[in-house]
């Protein structure tokens, strides 16, 4: 479902820089300070040696930075399923603590980690998964990917129109492991690919896109993704306009009437969410056949695209693969 345009190029570039680049060293003594998602300083006095990665998104970042050997355990490995490139084998070698969920605190603690990583902002796993207080109890530091958040209940978070959360996370991991150059190189590779997509998109018309994480049901609000999400960034950078960029919340609920009024020209189905009624292509087929959406230009002209949540929902280097695929699909027979 996901086209792996450019994956090979990045992997080759990484292999090259991995061979010639810095190696994280245990005896580095210079303290490094990075910001957490709340903007507070976090100081790392040594290079982490035992890393628990709570989810497959953050694991992608670690492995692409050549830090797979530091990972003593990984949780929620479902995002690995979309990785078809050469790093698939390395991802599969990581010790799995819990495949379907973020591992609970005790299981993480038993690994005696000195660093816990997650792509979920503020360690927001399900109840029982480690939070910042738990990390303090187990003498570990924590590093999370950050996405924009609201500053008050009445103001929505800043819209996300590029993949800066992904780059920011890679950069902070690079700083903590004292491999800043390698991280910057990966970031510039990814950013170059993002900018190539954006450059092409600027020239063309901007189709109106409805993002759907699930198939809407009659009589209930339509689920969609708000402006402060990776999905919104992907649609915008790919040259589309999220028709509900004015809503709030990661999973927003909008009225079916508004969907009709805003008449999306393209529907982007984000598949593989655990709460969705069907998985993968089955969900896309349901959306295509949904009478609620039959009147939209998108369904009438057959322009229903899809991308997995494993590449399009949380900060990960695979966001760029999703971007290239969505941009390619948007251009085909575009308005």
């Amino acid at each position: 479902m996901i086209r792996r345009v450019g994956t090979l190029a990045v992997c080759l570039a990484l292999a090259g820089c991995g061979a010639a680049g810095e190696a994280p060293s245990a005896d580095a003594v210079t303290a490094v300070t990075v910001k957490d998602c709340a903007g507070q300083d976090m100081t790392f006095t040594s290079v982490p040696q035992r890393v628990v990665v709570l989810d497959g998104y953050a694991a992608q970042s670690m492995v692409r930075l050549g830090l797979g050997d530091r990972v003593v355990g990984v949780g929620f490995t479902k995002p690995f399923s979309v990785e078809k490139g050469p790093i698939q084998a390395e991802l599969q070698r990581l010790p799995v603590l819990a495949a379907d969920s973020v591992p609970p605190t005790e299981i993480v603690a038993a690994q005696r980690p000195d660093l816990v990583l997650t792509a979920f902002a503020d360690f927001g796993g399900a109840p029982g998964s480690p939070k910042e207080a738990d990390l303090a109890t187990m003498d570990a530091q924590g590093l999370a990917a950050c996405t924009p958040t609201a500053t008050s209940p009445t103001e929505a978070a800043k819209p996300l129109t590029d993949l800066s959360p992904t780059y920011d996370f890679l950069r902070r991991i690079g700083q903590v492991f004292r491999i800043g150059n390698r991280a910057e190189q990966l970031i510039s590779e990814l950013r170059a690919r993002e900018q190539a997509v954006v450059a092409k998109a600027v020239a063309g018309p901007r189709p109106r896109v409805l993002i759907l994480p699930d198939n809407p049901v009659a009589g209930q609000p339509v689920p969609t993704s708000g402006p402060a999400t990776i999905a919104n960034a992907l649609v915008t950078a790919a040259g589309g306009t999220n028709v509900f960029a004015d809503t709030a919340g990661m999973h927003s609920q909008v009225s079916p009437e508004m969907v009709a009024e805003r008449d999306p020209q393209v529907i982007l189905v984000i598949t593989d969410y655990s709460f969705a009624k069907a998985k993968g292509q089955a969900l896309v087929d349901q959306v295509r056949a949904n009478p609620l959406l039959a009147g939209t230009t998108a369904v009438r002209t057959g322009r229903v695209l899809s991308a997995s949540q494993y590449v399009a929902a949380f900060p990960s280097p695979l966001n760029v693969d999703a971007l290239e695929q969505i941009a390619g699909d948007l251009r085909v027979d575009g308005p």
Binding site: A38, L97, A98, D100, S101, P103, P104, T105, E106, I107, A109, A110, R112, F120, A121, D122, F123, G124, G125, A126, P127, G128, S129, K131, A133, D134, A136, T137, M138, T147, P148, T149, A150, T151, S152, P153, A156, A157, G226, A228, A248, G249, M250, H251, S252, Q253
Partner: protein, 357 residues
Amino acid sequence: MSVTGATAVRFRLRVGTVPYAVVLGVLSAAVLVSVVIATGIGPVRVPADEVTRVLVHHLIGGADTASTADLIVWRLRLPRVLLGALVGAGLALAGAVVQSVVRNPVADPYLLGLSSGASVGAVLVITTGVSMLGALTLPVAAFAGAAGAIAVVLLLARHRGRLLPLRLILVGVAVGHLLGGFTSFLLTRAETSSAQQQIIFWLLGALSGAHWGLLGVPAVVVTASCLLLVIRARRLNVLVLGDEAAAALGVDASRLRRELLLVTTLLVGTVVAVSGGIGFVGLIVAHLARMLVGADHRRMLPVTAALGALFLVWADVAARMLISPTELPIGILTAFLGVPFFLLVMHARGLAAEGAP
């Protein structure tokens, strides 16, 4: 006699006449044994002798060690089990008092809008990212929310200077719904999955955030409230007879109600702040206690506290282990046990009412 009392007496006759000291002694021992056993159960397997060794090491004054068993048993698991016991006891006591204060056997602290208030306070902090008091921000906000909610309920439930039980319930339910709606509104605006997960915590509850530093305040508040309530137990017995009977016996019902609700707010605010919205403990445990030792609050309140502790310690073990390694929010388990019991109580209440002269 109130409906609560009538139901309890019926059950009590069925249970028989086990001496009160025996019941309380057995329950207290059961709490202690359960705490030790529950500390030995978790997703990471720690052999029983290792658990015993760690506990004994610390109980004779040993310091934290670098061993993984010490980290898991002493620093992660035991605080969680103890927090479960405290929260269970606190919620159960609060439930028992609210049922007597509003003279309704299916009342619980949540009926008066307390937990909805606490949730709104906490969720407001989560969604706005305000952090004035550091790690204490969330618990303090939850407590302030609960206190604010009960203040509004008390204000609106007053009628000509008196607090009427039915009015209290109606106003409590209405305010609770309003605040619940507000929480849901904030949920729909949560920008990240982490904010949504935290909000689930405040709606369904969890003991997973427990650590030693979190235990002090609930321990003091639950113990002090329990003592205070036992001292007030005789007057509570009078309160359930009705306002007129209370007045005849020299008890100012409205004033006593206010005083008891303040204690309840302190209890609920404190435990909700550390464990989120764990439902139904307050509803079911007091009824179990009445079945065992009768409706006399002097006997019933200590048993309620012990049963609440037992119930939540084991509910949390189930929450940790049923679908391990994922955890269930504990509120789901207490609801699974609580809802059938709720229906049973309503059924029994109906029969008792019909059977009453």
